[in-house]
Structure formats: C-alpha cells, structure tokens
Symmetry: C2
Subunit: 348 residues, 2 copies
C-alpha cells in the first residue's frame, strides 16, 4: 500500500483512538470463551518427587495451552492467534503494565475471535523437567542442564528499547515506563532450550489454524517468525501472517514460494539502532526482514513491511502491543487484515 | 446446616442443573476483565543466557499472576479468588477436560467477580531459576537443584481418585474419564520447592483480598489450606474461606481463634479410601479437617465440613471442579457463600 493511503488511514485511526478509549469502559459481550490444549505427547520419566510419584510413569510434554474469546459477530471474521515472545507469556497481549486494554480484548471488541497461546515449554503449557531431575538424581552431568533463560530488567530495558541506557527512557518513548516494574513481573524463565527441533509450538500453531478452519497467526520477537515456521509445516489453515519485530532467517526458494501464498505483514517500531550497548541486531533484523518481504513479493506474494516511523508513528518500543498508542497500532493490524486477508476471503 | 435443609437445597440444585447447562450457551456479558500481578520482589542473579543477558542484573520473583472477570452485577457480591493445586495452573477452573463450562465462567454468570491466580512459581507467575543456572555454571552442587515435581499420569490417576487402579475407573466416578488425556496436558512441573518459607502465594492471596476490599479465597489440594494460611498472615480482606480436599495442619489456639472469625467451608468428594496403592492420606486428610472444623466451632466460629457422599452426591473425584456434576457443586458453594458470607455482610 502506498504511503499516502496509510496517511489517510492513520488520520482516521487517530480520530478513532479517543473513541476506542471510551469504548473500553463499555460492557463486553462474548458468544463464548474457554481454553484447551493443542498437541502434546507422552514421555516416560524416571522416579522423581514424593509419595506415589516415586514410581516411573508418563508425563505429557510439548502441549500448547490456548485461551480464547469469541465475540457475537466472530464468525464474520477470520480468528486471530497471538503468540508471545521470549521470557514472556500470553500476559503480553492482556492488560498493559499501566492498566490499559490489551490487544486481546480490543480485537474481540472489533469482532475478532482471539486465541492466546502460551508457547510449548512456557507458563500454562508446562515444560519437560526430566533433565533437571536426572541431574539432581546424578544420572546426567550438570553440563546437560538446560539453559534456563532468565532475562534481567537490564536486558529487558535494552532489548525492548525503552531508552538509550538502563533507566534512561527515550524522551519520545511510547512505552508506559512509569509501569516498567509491572512489565518485569511478566518476565518468566524461558525453557525453549529444552524443546526438540523443530519447536513443537510451530506444529501446534499450524494445527490450531486447521482446527479453527482458518486463522491469522501473529507472533512477536522470539515467536515473531513462528507464523511463517508454522506455515512451512502446514499452510493449509493459515490465512495471514503477522510478524512483529524479529529476525527473518534465510529461506530456500521453495520455502519462499510456500509463504508467498499467504498475505504477510511485518511490523517494526522505532529507535532500532538507538540503544547503547544493546543488541546491534534490531537494525540487522529489520534489514533481514526487508529482504524477506522483497523475496516474497518477487514470488508474486502479498507482503508488507510496516515500519512505524516511516508512517509518522514515533517512539514505539519492542513491546509495542503495550505502548501508549497500542490501540492505534491494533487498528493498523485490523485494517491490514480487512484489506489483505478478509477481502481475499470474500473474493474467493 | 442440618442435613434435611441440604436435601431441600440439593433438590432445587438438581432441577437447576439442566437450566444451567442451557444457560451456558447464552452470550456472556462482562463489565470488565483483565490481568495483573500481586507481590514480587527483585533478586540479583549471576550472568546467564545469551547476549546482553550475560551481565549480572535483577529479575523479579515471587509475583502472582491474576486474571479476572467482573460481571455487570459483580459489585452486589463478594469477589471469589480461586487458586489451583499441585502440578496444575488456573486452567483447573476453566473449560473442563471434556469441554464443559468451568467454575470460573459459571461463577461469573452467577454475578460473582472471579479472580484466577497462578501460584507464585507456577505458569504465568514464573519461578526463580537461579539455582538451576548456578548448578549449570558449576558454582553450586547438583544436590542443591530444586525438586521439580512432575506428577505422572499414574500419580494423577491415584491421587485424583479416578479409580481403584490405573486406567480402571470407578463405575460411579464423576470425572469425565474419557477426556483424561486432556487433564494430563494441564499437569505441569511444580517448582514450589524453590519458594521461601512462608510461601509467597499466601501473602499474595492476603494482599489480593485487601486490594479487592474483601474476597472469598478458595484453594484446592496443594493450595487447599492456602486461604487459611493467607488469613493467618492478614485476615483483614478475607470474607470467607473455601478449602477443597487437602490436609489440615495442626494449629495453635491463637491461630484457630483468628480463623474462627471468618466463615469456613471445607469440601471433600467420594472414594477417599478406595484407591489401591494410592495415598492412604485422603482419609487422614478428611479426619484432620473434621478436627479443624470442630476446633473452629469450639471457638465460636462458623465452619462446615461438606462431605459430598453424606449429602447423597456420589462418585466425586479429587478434581471435582471438573467432574460431570461440577455445576451442581458450584451451586453448593454459591449457596454457602450467600448464606454464610453475603448474609453476614448484609447484616453488618
């Protein structure tokens, strides 16, 4: 889409923003809600724990917990699946650290069925603890312990681009920095290093899209390219790919051709190169994803790089779904889904 | 309450059960929903992980994730806080393994504000991984690794009393045993052994009750006595205690006197002594809790043991909030709250 078209959209989005905030106080009506698991397999483990647990037996691993809400008009739109990033859970998409409405509820209020998935090995999806218990039992050396990634506040500040250095926010930063302690509470140990390859979350996301008879998959950061990875396993249920701020890996021509059949949106925020001592990788991630977008386009695909500063939207952090203008950004995604996924769906 | 009064209630509850199932298909309207954390503190950790994470820094531990839904008439009732048991998450209270409505939504449909808390160190509340990483780094011996409790399917079957032996259900069992694999997916590693003493969840539950200006606290199994433990730390926000199937520890006279000021309900299901090779402890837990109820009564408190078979309700498992008659049991709890907590509130 051309830039002038985006400016028109952004103007109406800005006008709609105040109304959206008022709407957030209105009651919310759901057709239904609930939770379930996708995937999972049995694994036999050695004795561990207390009492009857001290016998060998099976546990279930690699399952993915999914929590959903369906609005009354949900059937008129393609469902949206949201998957969080490193060291986080589905809390990412809920109430923001400063208490505003998250994307999960906002999308439901915009008549979208929303599915929040905790990555396999994280949060309510559980993880495989058998190596930890084997090391404790002395049957496996400590060097084989998983690398449990515990991102510090300092790491979050720099990777999430809250400011040039720790505790010094960007003057134009959109993240609600006064509530950063509440974000730190969302950060939980990341046990993805315990997972087999390929990551079961990819297969589970693809299976979820099939189960839903079609869905837009959205990922962020660590999971930013998971929608594409899911599509490379089974594209049949995937109607759109939304990837937010992540590296885009090199792919084969055949892989690009598969992905080029699905509308793709990539979103990046601001200050990609402005963090001192932080990862230089945001700029290179951005460049890698620009290349990916071009590759998809070259195969005739519908792919778009939405770099927010280029649209005049400044100061967005890596946690842009929690930024002060999060509902404005949500409107950009909804408009993209309407134009690129839903329009396509209706024209079939 | 006398048995004949319960029989009257149970008759009306049974009649209401069919209607309740029909109601579950109706749209659900919420005044609001969201999530937040209670508690949490900073801890400095040694370098771990990749990239900028390889510098020491702070992480947040011991926080408790809370997800809530408030119905339009929620202000007319005391909020209810539900806390799950061992090796489980708040999934416990949601959609049952066979896809029926959980207590979380049912209580909301009955005009109660519901708060689901993931125990500190579990699921979306995260856990403290520093000992695991210290063992991997070689600075701490493997013997100091936490005991990560991974309950097997076999353990679940016996502890949750699904049948006399593994894969042999009780003929009158209320658990939807055809969906037991879905329950196994809910079972996730339990890292409570990493927690300090007293368990931070207790303090967090007490703080949540204060934040809500009064709440009924409900616990189950591992967390069954957490409502009482919370009240022993700070009873000021706690308007009622509901404890489901757990051991009741010995308490001092002063502790009993504190708890005797708060209405208390204890619920136990069926087949307490009928599992071969299972924990003999369900009968002794039941006896210990009967003693606790009597101690509270002796101090002039309002305490009640609701042993379901004694009310003519047979076949309930340990996971009674997921049993086929789960909404019937929910009605018993709602009736108890109305009579013992709300009536008291109104008379003040």
């Amino acid at each position: 889409m051309k830039t002038f078209a985006w400016i028109l959209i952004l103007t109406s989005v800005a006008l709609a923003q105040t109304k959206a905030r008022d709407d957030s106080k209105k009651p919310l009506t759901l057709a239904s809600q609930g939770s379930f698991f996708v995937g999972g397999e049995s694994k036999t483990i050695a004795p561990a724990g207390r009492g009857p647990a001290a016998a060998p037996g099976e546990i279930t691993i690699n399952q993915m917990y999914v929590q959903y809400q369906i609005p009354p008009n949900g059937a008129q739109h393609v469902p949206v699946v949201m998957v969080h990033g490193c060291c986080l859970s589905s809390k990412t998409w809920e109430t923001t650290p400063d208490g505003r409405m998250g994307w999960n509820e906002y999308f439901v209020r915009k008549d979208r069925s929303v599915y929040l998935a905790d990555q396999s090995s994280r949060a309510r999806s559980g993880f495989d603890p058998s190596t930890i218990n084997a090391v404790k039992a002395g049957t496996v050396p400590p060097s084989q312990l998983p690398n449990v990634l515990a991102a510090t506040h300092q790491t979050a500040w720099s990777v999430f681009r809250f400011g040039p250095k720790f505790n010094e926010p960007f003057p134009d930063g959109q993240f609600p920095i006064e509530a950063v302690e509440e974000l730190y509470k969302q950060m939980i140990p990341d046990l993805n290093s315990t997972l087999p390859n390929p990551n079961p979350t990819w297969k589970n996301m693809a299976a979820l899209a099939v189960k839903l008879n079609g869905a837009v998959l959205m990922g962020h950061s660590e999971s930013g390219f998971f929608p594409e990875q899911a599509a490379l396993i089974d594209p049949s249920g995937i109607k759109g790919l939304i990837s937010i701020e992540m590296p885009c890996p090199a792919l084969t021509d055949a892989q690009i051709a598969t992905l080029a059949k699905i509308p793709t949106l990539i979103m990046f925020g601001d200050h990609l190169g402005d963090v001192q001592g932080g990862p230089a990788s945001w700029n290179s991630s951005f460049e890698g994803c620009q290349k990916f977008v071009q590759q998809v386009k070259d195969k005739g695909g519908d792919a778009e790089m939405m770099h927010l500063p280029k649209l005049g939207i400044k100061g967005n952090s890596h946690m842009l779904m929690q930024d002060r203008n999060n509902l404005q950004l949500a409107d950009l995604l909804l408009t993209w889904i309407d134009g690129h996924v839903e329009a396509k769906k209706k024209s079939r």
